[in-house]
């Protein structure tokens, strides 16, 4: 899977405008009403580890003028570094250190990004909620009714405001 085009597609579907950086198919700019940033992909974990800062600084240098237009929006600037490579002996804390570094931009650094799902997971901080679900009120009464085989009157009394004594009397009358 080609990560950058897939990312581009995902971002566009999520409401972002995107643009490839001039002469660099591996650098994708994105922006919406509130935030902006770029995504770049590295072949290996070590490459990512070695080059992320260079890419980051280059982006800031190149776009400093634009970012100065809206310092507030510039606060919401994301640098996203992805690699399909899995770490071998690469220490995890190196990735954490990249993300913990809040200087200039918010950084997202992920390894093992191989699938559409992996890209979405990596982009979660800037993505809309993905797994929306609408819990509907459960059909509790029907299920109970189906299983206990009581008369409607008894069940209605039980589910209504009848007292336990009244329900007990109705249960006594059940065949």
């Amino acid at each position: 899977m080609n990560i950058i085009p897939e990312t581009n597609s995902i971002l566009e579907l999520s409401g972002y405008k995107t643009k490839y950086a001039d002469a660099d198919a591996n650098l994708l700019y994105f922006e919406d009403d509130c935030l902006l940033g770029f995504v770049t992909v590295f072949s290996t974990v070590s490459e990512l580890s070695a080059q992320w800062k260079e890419k980051h600084d280059a982006f800031l240098t190149k776009n400093a003028g634009r970012l100065r237009v809206s310092p507030l929006k510039a606060w919401n600037c994301y640098s996203i570094f992805l690699t399909p490579d899995d770490p071998d002996s690469f220490p995890m804390h190196a990735f954490l250190e990249i993300e913990d570094n809040l200087q200039g931009t918010r950084k997202i650094a992920r390894y093992g990004v191989k699938t559409h799902k992996d890209i979405i997971h990596a982009l979660y901080p800037i993505m809309p909620i993905q797994n929306r679900v609408a819990l509907i009120p459960e059909n509790f009464l029907d299920r109970v009714k189906e299983r206990v085989g009581l008369k409607d009157r008894t069940l209605a009394a039980f589910l209504g405001s009848a007292s336990p004594d009244e329900i007990a009397n109705l249960l006594m009358e059940e065949e």
Binding site: I129, L135, M172
Partner: protein
Amino acid sequence: MKISFIEMVGFRGAKNKIKLDFPSGFVVICGRNGSGKSTLCDAIEYALRGKIEKTYGSETEKGETISDYLWWRGEEKALDHYVTLGLIDDNGKELIIKRGPEGLISPKHEELEAALCLVDSSPDDCIDHLCRGSIIRDEMITNLSVDMPEAERFKFVKTAVTTSNFEMLEEKARKVVDIFNERASLAKKYYEETRNRVSELMAERSKMRAEAQQIEDTVKAEQVLQSLVNKPLADVATLINEAKSLSVELRQQVSGLAHVLESMRGLDKSRAKIETEAFKTQVKEMETQIKELEALLSEIAERNRELNDQLAVQGKLQPKLLSLSELAASGKHIGLDQGACPLCGLQISESDYFRHIEELERVVEAENKAMAMLIEERALISTRMNDLQNEISKKKVNFEHLSATSNFILKQYENIKEELRNYDVSLEADTSFDTAAIENEIILRRQKIADIDKNLAILEVSKAIEKIIAIDRDLEIAQKKSLEYEKNIERVEKAVSRAGILYSTIRRVSGEIVDEQLAALSPLFSELYFRLRPHIDWPEINYHIRGDVRRFLSLRVGDNLNLRFMFSSGQRRATGLAFLLAVNLSLGWGKLKSLILDDPVQHIDDYRALHLAEVLSSIRLLKNQVICTVEDAALADLLCRRLRSAEGDEGLLINTGYSVGEGVKIISERKIYPTPKEVLLSA
């Protein structure tokens, strides 16, 4: 529906009127502890549902609940008390909810439900459920995440993800089961009691039958008793009662006659004494002596009267005798006056003169002597009279005593005769005491008593037959009852089974529903957990439910590791928040697109704060309104930057404070304007 404004006066910590217009994007409320951030959330909750439930349950302390502190309680009175909440839908249609201490002022509850929920597919008490899902408080996050036992967590989650009041139904079903258990034990108790009664009656009947076999002739006994009672009587029971009364009466008579007999024997001895010749002679002699003494006394009294008469005559002579005595003494002293008597002047010789004087003295002396003798005699007679009178008195006392003894005995005799008449025993008037007759009477009556008792016993035995009939009747009733109770036990046991099935079905179905709802919610929960990233090593989370009767919910990471024992309290809080946000985002039937977070995070680092801001930003991408209170100003700034202010969907930062005596106040309001649409991608 989103919140468009909140207005309150005299509510919770706000004495004075506060009105805040909310933009449809987000509102970040920042302030120190006690500055009224929660009061604003309370006002929203109160306006929506008419109560505040900071935790799931109604906490009471010394009989007070939070409802006692809904309205301003400061020293200075508030000018008014109400909360007004504005809601606006996507079409700009506004609904204003107003509540005061008296309750919901407007609109009607049904209108409110229709505005906030899809009524056809929403649960009962939908506004309560909606509020629980939409207003996430620090206490709720704490409850869900920090040190909550697994069973409690399950209960909490069940309430959060389900809309039916399972707890209430389970409780109701459990009470029904309890009622049946009680009825079953009561039915068994009644059955056992009835069976015991049957056994008792059976034993009694056997005993009565044995007694009844001893009957020889109850008819004859009845006739005997009839003759003894000597009254026409309607039934045997009355005859028995009368006979018993007669028996008692006869026993009293026998006792009385025995007493009379004893008295009579005593009197016999006394009577024998007064009827002796010696006694009679003694009485007669005493009577004669009294008469003789009285005659003698009469004679002496006559002599006494004579003496008194004589002494009276002598008494009259005394002055003359005194004069004569004085004359004799004077004549003697004077002597002859020239040969003549000095008194009469007659010439008299001296010898004759003195002789006459001596004669005169003799006469005087003789008279005085006679007087003295009379006095002496009278004194003697007087003494004798006294003696006689005393003697007569004594004799009379003795005589009267003897007479009285005789009379007393006679009186006693009369009394006894009277008493005997009372016992229906008569004695001839001239018959002396006949103790043998009395003895005979006693023997006769004792015989009667014996007859009564004997025949009563026979009739009592015949009563045993009546008893047997009554016992048979009771036995039949008891056996019928026993059968009824047995059937009742069967019915109750069947009902117990039905109630048990109902109870277990409810528990099972509620468990299934919780399982299903949790399963449905799980991907969203996992996503939010992943986004909040409480623990860098464990980006994924699973839940685990166990138990049947009592259910437990634990949250697991990695290789089935319980995060309760793995995570710090801050990490657990983030997990809890992920769950509550998942619940909020899954309320399919709710129309309220406002998420209210009251102090959701505390003491977190910038990196974690950023995760929260990003999650809330993602929620904002759903066009939901986010209202969030925070204590930390930097976090408030971060949220204002990240929560996506857009044109027509702006944000607002509110700073709150507190004035002594005045309560909550709004220090500042700052609109958060949208940023330029294109900065990086502009041409």
